[in-house]
């Protein structure tokens, strides 16, 4: 990261080699479209480049930092195309929509970890995973989600909190 801060293009290439797959995968999950996912991924890495790689090791791993940037870029892109109806967002559909040819051997290991994590999410009650998914991947605020699902705001807050608590517990048990 120090080299990225120093303007070393090669350092950014290494950063992309390490985290580009996860970044693209997240972008695809958010955007639900291959071309849009490419655009978001590229924008995210260019913004990392232009910002001089302002990574703060105190605030988590490099991967988490990169993915947070991708997520922000993706949500921004979704909001720019704000003609979307909140009810149009398919919280379940993006994964199933991915073309099979994009799934390569090189992603098997990452997929194995993802499978375990998805298992933890799958154990969540549907309403909790839905609230978390709409917030994190859909970029909706808790008020928007409450309106969308026609439930009280406090209920959405509770579902998010319970969902995160349960995932945290699942992690502890897995370790």
């Amino acid at each position: 990261m120090t080299l990225v801060e120093g303007g070393e293009a090669r350092a950014l290439e290494v950063l992309y080699d390490r985290h580009g797959g996860a970044a693209y995968s997240l972008a695809h999950r958010i955007m639900g479209d291959r071309q849009a996912a490419e655009d978001v991924t590229q924008e995210a890495f260019v913004s990392i480049w232009r910002s001089g790689g302002r990574y703060d090791a105190m605030r988590g791993s490099v991967r988490s930092w990169v993915l947070a940037i991708v997520r922000n870029r993706g949500i921004d892109a979704l909001r720019r195309a704000s003609s979307r109806s909140s009810l149009d967002y398919d919280d379940d559909g993006a994964l199933e929509a991915q073309p099979a040819e994009e799934r390569t051997d090189s992603s098997v290991l990452r997929n194995e970890r993802a499978r375990v994590v998805r298992g933890a999410m799958a154990e969540l009650p549907r309403d909790q995973s839905q609230a978390l998914g709409l917030a994190y991947f859909g970029g909706f605020t808790h008020r928007e989600i409450a309106d969308m699902l026609d439930v009280p705001l406090g209920t959405i807050k509770g579902r998010m909190r319970l969902g995160l608590e349960k995932m945290r517990t699942s992690m502890d048990e897995a370790i």
């Binding site: 290439e13 999950r29 260019v46 999410m121 994190y136 808790h142």
Partner: protein, 262 residues
């Protein structure tokens, strides 16, 4: 509301904050609370690994190889723009990230005018029309001054109105073309960011002559730029601004967004 109730209220929003589901005002308020609440910071720290699992939960896909190539090209173009910009800004003595048109763009001077203006419709802006243009919806004119208002040995200063064309949409652009002692520069503010991998480029168009490439530039974070125009300009010459691919173009490839007639 006692301290426990107050804390409980913030604590209810903690998960929404963690997954980015608070609106902007709520986010600012919560962050402010976090700054002096050890208990909420501790809770957030405890839940952070769960939040980090969310992006890891998506199926992992291999990005197309072309994506990496495009990214590296964009980075290279960005490097070139910044390095050249710093040099040009230093030479021109003006601020902003500026880049002089390079050797590649100088070839444009050999491209026939008609070919270069294909698809353009940029009527010259005679002085008589300037005032009318200022009143138009897209006009972004400024008062025209013959000098800097000073007396004695003041350096002659000319300010020319810049008009945003329909291609600029309804962006609230403000711009002026200024000559200080014969050195021209374009001051631009509120210009939208160029598209990804793209830059802005100035052009000089003289009556009956080819379009000449001028400065390639990008905007500062606040959407402004001070763009040196190295060419000498005479009455009737036009300065145009288009959006071009990173590195600039040998000939204009898009319709002009801004136009100024000296």
């Amino acid at each position: 509301m006692n301290v426990a109730d107050e804390h409980s209220r913030w604590n209810e929003d903690l998960a929404a904050f963690a997954v980015g589901a608070l609106d902007s005002e709520e986010t600012v308020a919560f962050a402010d609370h976090l700054a002096h609440c050890d208990q909420c910071r501790g809770e957030l720290h405890r839940l952070a690994p769960a939040v980090e699992l969310l992006p890891a939960s998506v199926e992992q896909l291999a990005p197309p190889p072309a994506l990496k190539s495009r990214l590296l090209e964009a980075i290279a173009a960005d490097q070139e723009t910044n390095v050249s910009g710093a040099a040009a800004a230093g030479q021109a003595g003006v601020g902003g990230r500026v880049r002089r048109a390079g050797a590649a763009t100088s070839r444009a001077a050999r491209v026939p005018l008609r070919e270069r203006l294909r698809g353009w419709h940029v009527p010259a802006l005679p002085a008589a029309l300037a005032a009318a243009a200022l009143a138009a919806a897209f006009a972004i004119g400024f008062a025209v001054r013959g000098d800097d208002g000073g007396g004695g040995t003041a350096v002659p200063r000319t300010t020319v109105p810049v008009v945003a064309t329909a291609a600029a949409g309804r962006a609230p652009v403000r711009a002026q073309l200024i000559s200080d002692a014969g050195n021209w520069h374009l001051d631009v503010t509120r210009l939208p960011r160029a598209g990804f991998g793209r830059v802005y480029q100035a052009w000089v168009m003289r009556r009956g002559r080819d379009v000449e490439p001028s400065t390639v530039f990008v905007l500062a974070r606040d959407g402004s730029s001070t763009v040196a125009i190295p060419q000498s300009l005479a009455q009737g010459d036009q300065v145009l601004v288009t959006e071009e691919p990173a590195g600039g173009s040998a000939a204009p490839t898009t319709r002009p967004l801004l136009s100024a007639t000296v």
